[in-house]
């Protein structure tokens, strides 16, 4: 059900999504209906979750002077475009370059994480080789260690390579993740029948050919989910980018850090810049929100 938008029409995929559908339906039919207090709780929470977004627009569309009033304005004003322009042209933030950079970084990281994750995930899920369990155990074990603890040597490494302030310094540390491998392995253990791999081998296909022609089509729904999660995480990555990059060559989070770091006294411009840097992700989210929700919930059940 959650997979439908990325359905590609391969036989195997229909089989998996069809086998799931009836179980879900019958379950939903037996669920208890919500009573009015539930709706009250949900509406209040939804408002609390949305309000900061709304208020960002309010501040970004007003002048600083208008914001410094009691009571504070509650509806948007007419200064949105001029604030956008001011934020866009703030040299300390360098938002135009930041948007291009973030697009490049997040896209590269997403492609890398998904491709290498699927490749390694397939090997861990379905191929037999010496040391497989040890390597996979090691991968899972390191997932719990926060990567921020390694930033100091990472910084020295990047400085020695003269890569600080260059995009590869933020791409390379995240272009493969243990989570990506784990996620794809769990997905493939379930979705990929052993017989298919075996059939490919009997037919004389090489391992890479099996990966390319059999595994990839079946892995596509899970790859799409991983891609969305990875893109989001990469776009929002904060700690390492503000160490590795400066305003000469920022990602959007570095730009936001510089925008909010005290150089710009005008709150409306800061909020307009925040909106500019958040908008691409919010747009993606409005289109793919349901799939992302489905992906997180699936990941939770498997993990």
């Amino acid at each position: 059900m959650t997979m439908s938008p990325v359905r590609t029409g391969h036989g195997a995929q229909h089989a998996t999504s069809d086998s799931r559908a009836p179980r879900r339906k019958s379950r939903a039919g037996r669920q208890m209906a919500a009573r009015w207090p539930s709706y009250v709780v949900l509406v209040i929470t939804a408002i609390a979750f949305i309000a900061p977004f709304y208020y960002t627009i309010v501040i970004a569309s007003r002048s600083n002077a208008q914001m410094n009033q009691v009571p504070p304005p509650l509806i948007p004003g007419g200064e949105l475009w001029s604030n956008f322009a001011a934020a866009w042209n703030t040299p300390q933030a360098n938002i135009p370059k930041a948007l291009v950079n973030s697009l490049m970084v997040s896209t590269t990281v997403t492609v890398g994480t998904v491709f290498f994750g699927t490749l390694a995930g397939f090997a861990f899920a379905k191929l037999r080789f010496t040391g497989r369990n040890a390597l996979f155990g090691f991968t899972i074990g390191t997932m719990m260690i926060p990567p921020t603890l390694g930033v100091i040597p990472l910084y020295i490494l990047m400085a020695n390579l003269h890569w600080t302030d260059q995009l590869q310094s933020v791409i390379l540390p995240t272009v493969v993740t243990a989570f990506g491998v784990f996620f794809m392995r769990q997905a493939l253990v379930e979705a990929l029948p052993d017989e298919l791999v075996e059939a490919g081998r009997v037919d004389g296909a090489s391992a890479f050919r099996i990966f390319w022609s059999i595994v990839l089509p079946i892995a596509r729904p899970a790859m799409a989910v991983l891609a969305m999660l990875t893109f989001m995480t990469s776009w929002n990555d904060f700690f390492w980018p503000i160490i590795a990059l400066t305003s000469n060559n920022p990602t959007v989070q570095v730009a936001l850090n510089n925008l909010g770091g005290g150089y710009v006294p005008d709150h409306s411009i800061i909020m307009a810049g925040t909106l500019l840097c958040t908008l691409p992700l919010i747009v993606i989210f409005l289109f793919l929100g349901r799939q992302i929700v489905g992906g997180i919930m699936q990941g939770a059940v498997k993990g």
């Binding site: 919500a34 009573r35 977004f53 090489s206």
Partner: protein, 343 residues
């Protein structure tokens, strides 16, 4: 299936049992050897891009941090042996203990309410709802927002003189609170930002866990006359145990890493490094950042990193132990009955 038939066309399989192509035995032997080699080597080829990059940029830095913590390592300068000097220095620095204390208190006041609210929300979301996708997507929107964006917006909302929150508090007669410079108020504000960002995410994780609990258990409980609240405490909570443990571990680790929120909430400049004018919300991550990138003392920063790792381990072990102890408390008879019925 379509795919396997297409490979079929490309490479016709040898008839089973008998070695194929007896007309050209040398070619076939070569192919077999190639194929055997392919089966052996390919798995390593498939995992090696991941492993190499992961070792180089993930694991090596982690280990090297331990080595660095034993040196006086100045950014762009000298490196001399320090032994445990960085650690003894750390344990004598009042700001280290302050940061440790802040990390613990911030961790508690941001994680506990967050997970409790998420549990309640998930319970409500688990009912049959109109427009349920709308609620689910809304819950996850804060998760899609970056730390920086969220903190900058909340800094405005928490403004002392013109912030919306102080204004609303004023309507019910509460005096203006200086969220940015107050000590407890600053921590509360940061905890609210963290809670806002992560509650929906955790609610969805719980919801996924709840949906994998068998409906039969609920029906059995309903037949026994259990109220919705009793069904929640006696069916949902026990069924959700592994999920709850998972979220506790993940949020605990996240709490020890708090950086962006206190850094940006302080308003920039020296206050950002200090985590507020009087270090009132300087976390361990922030303290590490200050040692490394303001004072250029990378050896000390590395020592902080290892102290943080230690804290993570202690937190996780403590949480898991508490969770296990709760498991040993005697069950209410009703739960046992429900489980009996389900069996």
């Amino acid at each position: 299936m379509t795919t396997s038939s297409s490979t079929h066309r490309l490479a016709p399989p040898p008839p089973p049992g008998r070695p194929a192509a007896s007309a050209r035995p040398e070619r076939s032997a070569w192919r077999q050897r190639l194929s055997r080699w392919d089966t052996k080597a390919s798995p390593y080829a498939f995992v090696s891009p991941f492993l190499l990059l992961f070792l180089g940029f993930g694991i090596f830095p982690l280990i090297y941090t331990a080595y660095m913590s034993l040196y006086n390592y100045r950014l762009g300068g000298t490196k001399t042996w320090a032994g445990l000097g960085n650690f003894t220095w750390l344990f004598q620095d009042q700001f280290f203990w302050n940061a440790l204390k802040n990390t613990v208190t911030l961790g508690i006041i941001s994680t506990v309410p967050q997970l409790l609210i998420a549990l309640g929300l998930a319970h409500v979301l688990n009912y049959q709802l109109r427009a349920r996708n709308f609620y689910r997507v809304t819950m996850l929107m804060p998760y899609a927002t970056s730390v920086a964006a969220a903190t900058l917006v909340f800094s405005q909302l928490f403004g002392r003189d013109y912030g919306l929150i102080n204004w609303m508090l004023g309507l019910v007669g509460v005096d203006h609170i200086d969220w940015q410079n107050g000590s407890w108020s600053g921590q509360v504000a940061i905890a609210i930002i963290v809670t806002w960002r992560w509650t929906g995410y955790n609610a969805l994780i719980y919801l996924a866990g709840m949906q994998s609990i068998s409906q039969d258990l609920y029906e059995a409980a309903a037949i026994d006359g259990a109220s919705r609240w009793r069904q929640f405490t006696n069916v949902t909570l026990p069924g959700l145990r592994p999920t709850i443990l998972f979220t506790i571990v993940v949020s605990t680790i996240g709490a020890t890493q708090l950086f962006g929120e206190p850094y940006l909430f302080s308003g920039g400049g020296q206050q950002a490094y200090n985590g507020g004018a009087s270090h009132q919300y300087q976390t361990l991550s922030l303290y590490m950042y200050q040692q490394g990138w303001q004072y250029l003392q990378l050896g000390r920063a590395a020592a902080v990193a290892w102290a943080t790792l230690l804290l993570v381990v202690v937190f996780v072990v403590l949480n898991l132990t508490i969770a296990r102890m709760r498991d040993r408390t005697p069950k209410i008879p009703a739960t046992a009955a429900v489980e009996e019925v389900a069996r």
